[in-house]
Amino acid sequence: MKRLLEGARVVDPVRGVDGRFDVLIDGDRIARVAVEIPAAERAGAEVLALQPGWIVCPGFIDMHVHLREPGQEHKETIATGTAAAVAGGFTGVACMPNTDPVNDNSSVTKFIVERAAGAPARVYPIGAVTKGSAGEQLAEIADLRAAGCVALSDDGRPVANALILRRGLEYARMFDMAIIDHCEDPALKGEGVAHEGLVAAVLGLRGIPAAAEEVMVYRDIALAELTGGRVHIAHLSTRGSLRAVRDGRARGVRVTCEVTPHHFTLTDEQLKAPLSYDTNLKMNPPLREAADRDALVAGLADGTVDAIASDHAPHHYDEKHVEFDRAPFGIVGLETAVPLALDRLVHAGVISIGRLVELMSVNPARLLGVPGGTLEPGSPADVTVLAPEVTTTIDPARFRSLSRNTPFGGWTLKGTVAATIVGGRVAYANPDLASLAAR
């Protein structure tokens, strides 16, 4: 089966491509990208109608997602989470191991891989660094790798013991796997629920100082330097952490980082108004202050930040409909990440579409060591089609995710997803836009 994406702007930074091209898909692979596909080659291809202004990109990969299965299927399942992923423009997601049971052994990994077999998006499991993510004993990393894990993390918890992280970084080197660390000093975080600063002080919320993240970012960089291992800082949120990453990388340390859409969009001021103490503004790391948000935006533009990742953290309505300090941390992000990135970064003039593709496709693929990130012939036919000029209003009631815990409901944003193609098949076509149906 051949499919043809005809005459759209194609942005493929890996190959230095940005212009009007035809993209021919043959089966589940990209066959050719050319100004004009020879008639013989395109013969019999189904032509997918693209609207003027749409942009064809290599498939976006969200490298930080919680699919909640196994164990917390009331929040999300692999089926609903991947449906949300393609609706949000993601052809692949990397799922964190803090399921129940923890994905710390190959049987859990195999279960996830099996459940994801028919899912609309590709699922890349992340294995635990330590058994039970308890931070004491390394998990069976080789086994996890063999079963399909692409990276390691005790996400939700930091690897608190520096010696264990050292051993993990050393051991994971033989597979060239990154350890994705949720950087937070547990004692400094304490019972904190919001960024430590004036807003938390006024609202009477226990603070989580920026230093709780930064001391562990510095530690991790030192350990990556010591071991030569690869450390990836999850949901980096402070200007100090960014400085640490920049300095570490300048001296050759293998450290990378990601930033979430909520951290590059919101600040802790949001906790005061219009909806004070909104539990959909409670996440970890917390929303920081304006100087941090501005630094993250600058880091996205200047290359310090490697990836945009949503930290999609579905929680049931009942769990969030409680007092602020009792609510769980986290918000959903799969179905708002691309509109936020287009509106707040691309249309705001901070980054180009090419840089957006690096942050959401090229770099996540590289960091995880998975196929994709380019439309090079022979690559998987994973394609994200953007409609950057289309303005939409976020309506959580229409989310494919099982959970609706977002602070962005009602936000009007410029730029959305037109379609998501996974393995050559149209996994999502935006129902609000002119149909992508075959012509």
Binding site: L198, A201, L203, G204, L275, Y277, H321, V322, F324, D325
Partner: protein, 326 residues
């Protein structure tokens, strides 16, 4: 108008607070604060009468919903409600279905189904009253939410200060103690700065909330500097139950460095008044000789609490259609 208070502001039909709730001082304008204080003046006269009751809230139902232990505040509200003839009921977390795992929202909505006019809520979580105000039709009065606000305490403190000093603007007011965990501190800072007092706060650096200077107060770790020339010294309780966090080395050292002794009181103005929201830890934040001394107005604060809470209850639930019905 059947509330028989001569020359009080209660005669002004328009005198109401803007919202249905009193969530915090943050939401009040200076004019609203003064309205509460002026109304409280009228309410205080009721306590001096042989029959300490007026029908202002007759037929209104007020639920006192306390999720945290409280003697002073709960009793004060209850007395205030009864003096205004409201029907009141008290629910404390220990006796409610909260212990059976019911959520705050469900507890509130079940009570709401019984059509109360006001709910007076104390809760351990900051923002709990904001949360309830969004899901309840009844007005919510914040009787203390976590470390956030305790607005009626700040109002009664302001009332007490004004009674002694005849003004609030320009007074040097020192607030000393555990600033970090104190909702009394937050409400007082907001109120006193809105009314242009010169507010100084003092405590160990480990118990000073970050950024507090941006609220327009002077911050010092020297109690002596804070008390120097003060018109008012307000001591905050050291919350012994919260002191596991190692905020200071010992109670003994705390008292040495931050305790209010009569020696330190001498640095203040001769007519200084000493306040404490209670409950006090004698010998920790305040010496007994100061707490019981001539400058202390601590028990007046308690008495004024009833009048101020009557004013708040009246301004939120009284008047309006009640007057028409009366």
């Amino acid at each position: 108008m059947n509330l028989q208070v001569a020359n009080g502001p209660l005669g002004t039909a328009a005198a109401r607070l803007r919202g249905k709730d009193l969530l915090g001082i943050a939401e009040l304008t200076p004019a609203e604060i003064l309205l509460v204080l002026d109304t409280a003046e009228a309410m205080r006269e009721i306590a001096a009468r042989p029959i300490k009751k007026v029908p202002a809230l007759r037929g209104k139902t007020v639920i006192n919903l306390f999720f945290e232990p409280s003697t002073r505040t709960r009793t004060s509200f209850e007395v205030a409600e009864k003096r205004l003839s409201a029907d009141t009921l008290n629910i404390s977390a220990g006796t409610s279905s909260v212990v059976k795992g019911e959520t705050l929202a469900d507890t509130a909505l079940n009570l709401e189904a019984m059509s109360p006019d006001l709910m007076v809520v104390r809760h351990t979580s900051s923002g709990a009253c904001h949360f309830l105000s969004r899901i309840c039709r009844a007005g919510i009065i914040n009787a203390g939410d976590g470390m956030h606000e305790h607005p009626t305490q700040a109002l009664l403190d302001a009332f007490t200060i004004r009674e002694h000093k005849k003004r609030l603007g320009g007074l040097k007011i020192a607030i000393v103690g555990d600033l970090l965990h104190s909702r009394v501190l937050r409400s007082n800072v907001l109120l006193l700065t809105k009314l242009d007092a010169d507010v100084w706060v003092s405590g160990p650096p480990t118990l000073i909330p970050p950024g507090i200077a941006q609220l327009g107060v002077r911050v010092t770790t020297s109690i002596d500097e804070a008390v120097e020339g003060a018109d008012v010294v307000m001591m905050l309780r050291i919350q012994l139950e919260r002191m596991q966090g190692g905020y200071f080395p010992s109670l003994r050292e705390y008292f040495t460095v931050f305790g209010l002794t009569s020696q330190r009181v001498r640095r203040a103005k001769p007519d200084v008044i000493i306040m404490h929201p209670g409950p006090m830890n004698r010998g920790v934040e305040i010496a007994s000789e100061v707490a019981d001394g001539a400058c202390s107005v601590i028990l007046e604060q308690v008495a004024n609490g009833v009048a101020v809470r009557m004013a708040v209850l009246y301004l939120l639930a009284g008047g309006g259609e009640h007057e028409a019905a009366a």
